[in-house]
Amino acid sequence: MSTRDRHIQVIGICVGLLAAAIVLAMTGERETNAKSGPMLSECDGRIRSIAIQYVRGADFAVPVYRQFLGELPADVIVYAVCPDRESFEELQSRLGTESSRKALPPRRLRAIVTGHPMTAWSRDRWISLWRGRRESAGTLVASRGENGGQIWPQRQGDERIAEDLARAIGRGTMRSGLYFDGGDFLADSRSVFIAPGAIARNVQHTCGDETELSEIVRRQLGLRPILLRDAPDHHAGMFMMAAGDGRVVVCDPKLAKGLLAPVELPGGADFSDSTQRRFDSVAAAATAAGYRVARIACVPACDGKTYITFVNGIIDERGGWRTIYMPVYRGQARLNAAGEGVWEKLGYRVVPIDVTSTFRYFGTLHCLVNVIEKD
């Protein structure tokens, strides 16, 4: 073979490799969200914008919105996602006119009308990623599909909220290949805790095993995944919260035993050993991952979904100080005080938000409110 022939071969190989590199780079661009930052931390950063959802007749949500939005600093932008204009006007009117400690100035709400059925629960619809270095805004990550959408029209509509919202506010959106509710993931600046529901919905459905699931989460959300396989069968935000500086707060039913005032719960309070073990497993997993764990009173009901919990709040960090908007419950003064005490001991300013109207629907404050952007 002559030198010229060899040169021709080398040129051919170079052309082929170059073409392959271009193709791989282009497909890699599509498959990765590496330009976005990691999932927003629950406990770090100043809240810049939030989303709530409202549908006509969602009476349970109004008292919570009224208190929370009344307490929230005025510079936080609030997007109200509603199925129709009437729902938005009803929300605005009820927030502004009903008796309240601090009536909400109507100008703070920005309407996003979707034109399709939906529920009033914002937290589970999407996860927000920090803005990447080359992005002007962060990305909303939606689940591959909503749980129960097959038989529940409102839940089916919920599946489209991330796109509705992203389009309206000029952010990127991505539909994950994973099945999850937003509440299945709970993040601080270094880790993301994953509730059992997300593990069960994905292993052997969207990935082979837990190792593969962890790898997908790590790449998609940019944080170290911690699988809570033995945790209570509920969203992570119902039984734990990140507190910052390597700390987490984990619910502990036994701390509530002597503090619970008589209250009607579905099936009664569940202080069984088996349930206690599930909560303890969360504390153990967090400890094993290097976190300092503070335990906080909590009352799970025997239906497995109704919780009196003090971790399902919203945390805002301003000027180095953290505030938690913490759920509290009418008639549960001793429990409320115990919850408040734990957060204060961690250096938090506590703003109580009465969620008595919502907790029987299986969620409280954070379940209604999703944080879009933080500084």
Binding site: G16, A20, V23, N147, M174, L178, G208, H235, F362
Partner: protein
Amino acid sequence: MWRSRLTTVMVWAAGAFALALACGIPAVSNAVNESRAAGWTTTVLNPRITTNGIELTVTTAEPATQPSGSLGHESNRVVKFVVRALNRTDSSASGDFTIRMTSVAPTSPIARVMPVPTEIWKDSGTVVLDAGQSKTFTFTSPPLAEKRIFTLILAGGDQSIPMLTLSPQKNGAIAVNR
């Protein structure tokens, strides 16, 4: 002359291109390849668990489109399932499995999540298989009501995986999701 050189360049370029792509794009087995989509996930068409070297899978007796589709059960709305056990080892093996069905529906259209599902049916089996041997077991579900979600869960050893989700539709068909 130049035409022959150009052809040689193209041949080498095509070879290098194909080889580089083959190395750069991973292959996925037992799955629809969605690895290039956001999330790097796959769609596992036949979820499986393995206990004592015996691989267990579940399918509906009547074929349905994958990964989601429907079964045309117009009457009674019962579904037949086939559990297939396959000994993947090179010696005889035995194992037990349990198959159960749960049912759930939203308690309220405004609830945050669905309640904890209720178990409505359960059965089990034991398999003893020679190397490479397989065996099937057929089960029939109880009647499935509309507006509920039924999940078929297979357990063996220390594993328990929801294999199929069924939701009967108004027209009598049963939607199947994996």
